[in-house]
């Protein structure tokens, strides 16, 4: 499997009308096909206009106002953005979110790749293992699991009970401790390594076995084979997973909301960016400011994705070069 992004790129290229056809000025048949296509796309166009692009533009405009849902918006220029510069809770939420993303995503990817390696190549019972490891990914975002997490890492929760059996008594309540609350959420994210693992498994299957055989004949050990064959050939998949996991991690909301009881506590230790945005916009109805926050989130995600794409030139190898 080539990364889906690259796939999409080449797919558009394939589907583009050939230059020959483009030169011919729209025949009646082509006109009819045009009309049919736009009819098929009509719902999507409406959605794009009213649910996606319209709101993106609207939120940019709102970010320059003091809209509060109750009163008509006043234009206040860059005031919201200035306010962001000296909003300590916002700065804290950025630190929390970035810590979460930059700690949990590498762990998720490492675990996913490690397990995919352990499962690959004709292991008996592979589908069963795959399902077991995937299950947490499926459930991980649900409120019920966040509730469970609160209990597992509570002061007399499962985790401390197990530690107690091992002789560690008097451990703190992890969820309620400002120093550890974020860690429990990182563990929750790492727990859902199953979906990138499945993508890695699909990628590993694309690597021809002959490469390994040839390397083995030349006397390469398992570590050498991993470093010189598996890793380079897998870089497009690693890249794809990295982008996906980062974007997902930035949007984490419900886990933090439930574990902290909707406050981002203790002491703002789990105040994720999205949670702060929600609290500003939908409990304080400070919608102008929330729109500015939303735009900044878009800029952060787009910026990091762009950085990743640029950096990828130096470490991602596509088979065709």
């Amino acid at each position: 499997m080539v990364s889906a992004l690259a796939q999409a790129d080449s797919a558009t290229a394939q589907q583009a009308p050939s230059p020959q056809r483009r030169k011919r000025k729209a025949s009646p048949l082509q006109k009819r096909e045009n009309r049919a296509a736009y009819l098929f796309l009509a719902p999507w166009f409406l959605g794009l206009l009213f649910i996606t692009i319209g709101p993106i533009v609207a939120s940019l405009v709102l970010s320059f106002t003091d809209y509060s849902l109750l009163e008509a918006p006043n234009w206040i220029g860059l005031e919201n953005y200035q306010r962001m510069l000296d909003d300590p809770r916002l700065h804290n939420s950025l630190v929390v979110t970035f810590t979460y993303v930059f700690v949990s995503v590498p762990l998720v990817l490492a675990l996913a790749l490690g397990l995919a390696m352990a499962l690959d190549r004709g292991l008996r019972g592979l589908p069963i293992y795959r399902s077991i490891y995937y299950l947490p990914s499926l459930l991980g975002g649900s409120v019920a699991i966040a509730i469970l997490w609160r209990r597992v890492f509570g002061s007399d929760g499962l985790f401390n009970q197990v530690l107690g059996l091992l002789g560690f008594e008097g451990m703190p309540g992890w969820v309620g401790h400002p120093d550890y609350a974020l860690d429990t959420l990182i563990v929750l994210n790492v727990w859902t390594f199953g979906s990138p693992m499945i993508i890695f498994l699909a990628g590993l299957r694309q690597i021809p076995v002959m490469y390994y055989e040839a390397a083995a004949v030349d006397g390469a050990g398992p570590i050498r084979r991993f470093v010189s064959i598996t890793l380079p050939l897998l870089t497009p998949i690693i890249f794809f997973n990295l982008i996906l996991q980062m974007i997902n991690a930035f949007q984490t909301f419900s886990q933090a909301f439930i574990v902290s009881g909707g406050t981002g506590g203790p002491a703002d230790a789990t105040m994720f960016y999205t949670l702060y945005l929600y609290l500003r916009g939908f409990t304080a109805f400070d919608m102008g400011y929330a729109s500015a926050l939303a735009w900044f989130l878009l800029v952060i995600i787009a910026g990091l994705t762009a950085v990743n794409f640029v950096a990828s030139r130096y470490w991602v190898h596509y088979g065709d070069d």
Binding site: A4, A8, G47, L119, V143, V209, I301
Partner: protein, 294 residues
């Protein structure tokens, strides 16, 4: 060519299996099973705790309840203003609407992208791909304003209508990929027989798309059932609460006192997900492997 490759690969796998010694393989299995078990342990513990008296949940890390309290389920079911099935019905209505909406709207758009040529197709395709990555938080405030102007806050419309407008572009992409794999000769011969695009879409492409449609339906079900953020924003009336919102009410109102019933209702909330997971594994794995969705 493909078959010789396969034979070679099977051969190589066999050799590799032989090469790996039996005890080493057993050790590998033991490790994988142990790891899997410890991953699933919290889930199993929650299931068992849902049958324990609350006091015991705080003391017993084991899986087998020493004292059964099936009353947790009855207590949990009736703990909130409405019996729990009220919230399940709310969730089911939203999920059903979302599934139907996604199946119809996304497949229509996918047909156009996969089979028709039209003006500005590449631009629109790029926009569609870009919108996949768009975080919901960026558009939620204006959406809220729009829906409140339509008087749709505290109705199910904000959660269902966008699906009929193909907002989940993931699934358009998934179906485009799938439709491209179908032979074009089928369309051509249908067109020669006088079929229009709508007939080709409905009679030929849709039936062949069943696997992609199944993947879409299952993922839409899971995402919508799990969705918390947009339901939290658009449904503030406790009567309209869905299962996740009901669980949240439960946590807030009961605090630390009744974890048994809370766990029981959490198990109920996870049940359908687990069921769909068992039934739809094939489609889930394929869906993830082709598009990378979660």
């Amino acid at each position: 060519m493909a078959t010789t490759e396969m034979v070679l690969e099977i051969d190589a796998r066999r050799k590799e299996k032989k090469r790996r010694s039996r005890p080493k393989r057993l050790l590998q299995h033991a490790g994988l099973i142990l790891f899997g078990f410890s991953m699933l342990y919290p889930l199993l513990w929650m299931l068992s705790s849902s049958f324990k008296p609350t006091a015991l949940i705080f003391r017993e890390p084991g899986l087998w309840p020493t004292e059964f309290a099936p009353g947790n389920y009855i207590e949990g079911w009736t703990a909130l203003t409405h019996p729990f099935h009220h919230y399940i019905i709310n969730s089911v209505i939203i999920v059903a609407g979302a599934v139907i909406g996604n199946l119809l709207a996304c497949s229509l758009a996918a047909y156009a992208f996969a089979r028709l040529t039209f003006v500005a197709k590449r631009t629109f395709f790029a926009i569609m791909l870009g919108s996949i990555m768009l975080p919901v938080h960026v558009v939620i405030v204006p959406q809220y304003i729009l829906f409140s102007n339509l008087d749709w806050i505290n109705t199910f419309y904000p959660l269902i209508v966008p699906k009929f407008l193909a907002v989940d572009a993931f699934f358009i992409f998934l179906m485009v990929q799938f439709i491209r794999g179908l032979p074009r000769e089928l369309d051509d011969s249908a067109r020669i027989d006088g079929c229009g695009h709508l007939r080709i879409y409905w009679r030929i492409i849709m039936p062949l798309c069943l696997p992609a449609l199944a993947t879409t339906a299952i993922f839409t079900f899971i995402w919508t059932w799990n969705d918390f953020f947009s339901q939290l924003v658009f449904l503030t009336d406790p009567d309209l609460a869905t299962v996740p919102l009901a669980l949240r009410q439960f946590v807030d109102s009961q605090g630390q006192t009744s974890w048994g019933p809370l766990f029981a209702m959490s198990v109920i909330a996870l049940g359908p997900l687990f069921g769909f997971f068992l039934a739809g594994q094939r489609y889930l794995v394929r869906g993830i492997a082709t598009t990378g969705i979660k």
